[in-house]
């Protein structure tokens, strides 16, 4: 524990030291620096996680408890979720650097911000969902006994949302590595100052075309992903089991070696006892937020008037923003700027579709095979989890090297690059879906002699379908986002470019061409939302209605 603390302090002081302008400079090529870089990268990840958690709690709470805010906040979250964040990385980096000039703190903020944007929306959605689904009797209990709002949050809402929050945070954290690497690499490409971190190290190695150093970076990354999973997420997930609402003891529980050790240790309990008065005091202070439950008094007319006023303000604000934006675009480039990205979007769309189709054909059968066998599941599931969170952009240089050697055009190879990150969601969910197939149904199929293709058609495919849809939605969203870094890749002195919306956006970002960047991002968000509305949401509903077990 003390060692850990020391390491954190040590690495943290690095952040502070680089306040001194001259310090954030050249990045060592020595692999011996990698442990230090790893800790710096980890600090960034956890800072972003803390920030995301705070955001999710506040945002979801506000949306769940104010009918009016909910109408604005939730659609806004939907939009934010569909915006390809990677596109803004370059803008964010230069923006933050300008905001805090003369140190790496600006870059540090930009990186944390990039990771934050990849985690926060999901977590906010999950927590909001769990608050509004608070069981009726717990809501009644809280009002009946006159809980304070503070108590309701800490005793009912946060524990009730703990499991979805932890799982979502874990998944988002996995996705976050990608953004960590991407944002650190951007600082390298920008020239001059770079953030000390594993991603930056890899970025430098890529620029120098050193496969050996890329290999070292990959190994470090693997250690980090596995280590964080083992030391942080597994114990957390196992600990969160206590927040299950289910009233009986589940036969299958999440376990963690680390948590078992912690449970056996004495200091956590002593710490809890020491902190109890603090909690008491906080609870007392929290009374200022008032009691749970509305008074019957509110008149309907006044409520309607309030609604109308709120709606007017929102519509005016949004309308004004839209008009201003259109005017800006019209001034700079004309509205024709949307034409090119719309067309290029078709190319990227084709890539996404091919990717999903191929990944489905390959990974669903494999996932089902794994999921149906408890023995295979035990081995494969954690492995897939780690693979899914391993940042695919780390492997890009290897792939690029391969493309250069074989002469495979990036127009095709891009699909492979996008798949490196996205495919795992499909595999992961196929495994989960297959695990959920009830044993008695499988036995019934055995008994009836339904095998092979027929068994797939009658049992497996319908049973796995809901989970598959969940995985495919995530994979498709991830693939769109990844297109921004997959359609332009560089290794050593070579740069490969594919035709597509991702490359368009990346170019615009690199060139600082803000109207084009904006148009490209908007069009991409439109494609993502359109695909969600037209395809995934329908499949989702079908899955819920017909194929839920």
């Amino acid at each position: 524990m003390a060692v850990l603390l020391f390491v954190v302090v040590r690495a943290g002081s690095g952040t502070a030291v680089s306040f001194v302008p001259s310090r954030g400079g050249p990045l060592g090529a020595d692999p011996g620096h990698l442990p230090y870089y790893a800790v710096r990268s980890l600090l960034r990840m956890f800072a972003a996680l803390a920030l995301s958690l705070l955001f999710a709690l506040v945002y979801a709470y506000a949306a769940a408890h104010s009918r009016r805010l909910e109408r604005v906040l939730i659609p806004l979250l939907d939009v934010l979720q569909s915006v390809p964040v990677l596109a803004f990385l370059t803008v964010a980096v230069s923006g933050f650097a300008a905001l805090l000039p003369g140190s790496t703190l600006g870059l540090e903020c930009a990186s944390v911000f990039a990771i934050f944007t990849s985690q926060a929306w999901n977590m906010a959605f999950a927590f909001h969902h769990s608050i509004i689904r608070t069981p009726r009797e717990l809501d009644e209990l809280s009002r009946d006994l006159g809980f304070t709002r503070w108590m309701r949050f800490w005793r009912i809402e946060l524990p009730g949302g703990a499991i979805p929050l932890v799982w979502n945070a874990m998944m988002s954290f996995g996705g976050g590595w990608f953004f960590l690497v991407a944002s650190e690499m951007v600082t390298v490409r920008n020239g001059g100052r770079a953030l000390p971190g594993v991603g930056a190290y890899a970025g430098r190695a890529i620029a120098a075309g050193s496969l050996r150093d890329v290999g070292w970076a990959i190994a470090t990354m693997a250690v980090m992903v596995v280590g964080v999973n083992f030391l942080f997420w597994r114990p957390l997930v196992a600990w969160a089991e206590r927040f299950k609402v289910e009233q009986s003891e589940a036969p299958e529980v999440q376990r963690s070696l680390v948590l078992d050790l912690l449970r056996r240790a004495r200091w956590p309990r002593m710490l809890a006892r020491a902190l109890a008065p603090v909690g008491e005091a906080a609870g007392r202070a929290g009374r200022v937020f008032g009691r749970d439950g509305r008074s019957f008094g509110a008149s309907r007319r006044r409520r309607r008037a309030g609604d109308a006023a709120f709606a007017t303000v929102v519509v005016v604000a949004v309308g004004w923003g839209a008009v201003d934006l259109v005017r800006y675009l019209d001034d700079r480039t004309g509205l024709g700027v949307f034409g090119e990205p719309l067309l290029l979007g078709l190319a990227t769309l084709a890539r996404v579709v091919v990717l999903i189709a191929v990944a489905t054909l390959v990974w669903v059968p494999i996932g089902v095979r794994i999921g149906l066998s408890p023995r295979l599941t035990r081995v494969a599931q954690p492995a897939v989890q780690v693979l899914a969170s391993f940042p695919a952009n780390f492997l890009f240089p290897l792939a690029t090297w391969f493309f250069v050697r074989t002469g495979l055009p990036l127009n095709l190879g891009g699909i492979l690059l996008m798949a490196l990150g996205a495919q795992w969601y499909i595999l992961f969910n196929a495994i989960a879906g297959a695990m959920a197939v009830p044993t008695d149904l499988r036995e019934a199929m055995d008994d009836l002699g339904l095998r092979g293709w027929r068994r797939w058609r009658r049992l497996i495919a319908p049973a796995v379908f809901p989970a598959y849809v969940t995985g495919a939605v995530t994979a498709s969203g991830g693939a769109w986002n990844a297109s921004i870094v997959s359609e332009i890749v560089a290794f050593g002195g070579t740069t490969l470019t594919a035709t597509g919306l991702g490359a368009y956006v990346a170019h615009a970002a690199e060139a600082g061409d803000h109207p084009r960047l904006f148009a490209g991002v908007t069009v991409m968000a439109l494609y993502v939302v359109g695909m969600n509305r037209l395809l995934w949401r329908r499949l989702y509903r079908l899955a819920e209605r017909r194929y839920s077990l």
């Binding site: 009644e140 009946d144 006159g146 009912i156 206590r242 927040f243 289910e246 019957f296």
Partner: protein, 464 residues
Amino acid sequence: MTDELLTARGLTRSFAGADGELPVLSGIDLTVREGEIVALLGRSGSGKSTLLRCLAGLIPPTEGSVAYRGEVLTGANPGTAMVFQTFALLPWLTVQQNVEVGLEARGMRAARRRAAASQAIDLIGLDGFESAYPKELSGGMRQRVGFARALVVEPDVLLMDEPFSALDVLTAENLRGELLELWESGEFPTRAIVLVTHNLEEAVLMADRIVVLGARSGAPRAGEGGVPQAGFGGALRAEYAVPLERPRDRDAPGFAALIDRIYRTMTGRGDDGPGPLPPLGLEPAAGNGGPAAPRRTLAGTPLPPASVDGLSGLAEILLQHDGRLDIAELADELALEIDDLLPLVDALELLGFGAVDGGGIALTGAGRRFSGAHVQESKRLFAEAALRVPLVGTITTSLAKAADRTLRAGFFRDLLAHHYTSEQVARQMEIAIDWGRYAELYAYDADHTEFRLASDTPGAPAAV
């Protein structure tokens, strides 16, 4: 005046329907006095749980008011605490912590809180379980935690929402007995109890006063004052004082008689219940001759929530008992509660297969034929009878008139929405689909939410 703890005046609670508000409770006047146990009895949909929540101040009344010691409520009632059917324990807190939450909400200091909670835990017989988590406990122990949590805040009125219905029979019996002992010993920290139940025996065992809420029987009935009463809108239907000595003995002569009387009220034939049923179409039931009875309408004749299997089973049992049985006896013999049994009785009556007389139900001629027949024949008889039930009849005739003999479910849903809340509409549709499918009158396609006429001759087997 001072011993009036809770007073409801003209309490009406409605939910939104297609034509405006549909009352779930209408015009309830109720007073809870110090020292009494009041049981609110009624079947599902009678609004008894809604009434309890109005008394707790958890649901605002649409009209009328609830007062606690003369003060009209504007929010949660400060003088009550509730015990929930599903226990409503916080699974992440220990027993001790669960019992303490009410005190914590009142801002009591930790040390005093712990002492008070320990006392309540002792009182309710939970000592030794303080550090357990709810999921480690049996159902009975969990509900004890629920009791301790409510009692520790020393409310004037303890509100109990079917507190024993999630427990097995023996556990419920034990817990009920202990609670009554506590109540009688004078150690009980509350001044009155309001108990919601659908278990008639439980009501008679525990209460000083039994208030029967007026879910109508499945049979049609006009509302008071000539206004047709839509849906199930509950009103106070009858009130009984229970004069029996405590501890009460199930074999005491007054006990069975009281149960019998209440059953009569609940099946709509009681001395103080509403008027007789209207004639049942072609097959007049015995003892039924009300001349001014209203016609059966969609609004006035909700389908009782009874499965075809259940009502056939009941008919079978009646047939084995020479066609007639006392309802109280039936309930006892089959260990069925009101919510399970009465819908079946209603269904038999609605279909003209049974006739309720006094406290019993007898099979009619049609009922005997239905029960005695083989599958296909009994299906035919069922179809014939079901056609005379408004909703099933309406669906069948509408389909026959429709161009391709197919209609969207939404069409019928809209029809029902004039008279029922959305939840009731869903339930009615479900039952109509079940009955119609069994009768082979029409088929229902869940994928396209469409009804389709099964074949041109009603009741004939159709290939679906």
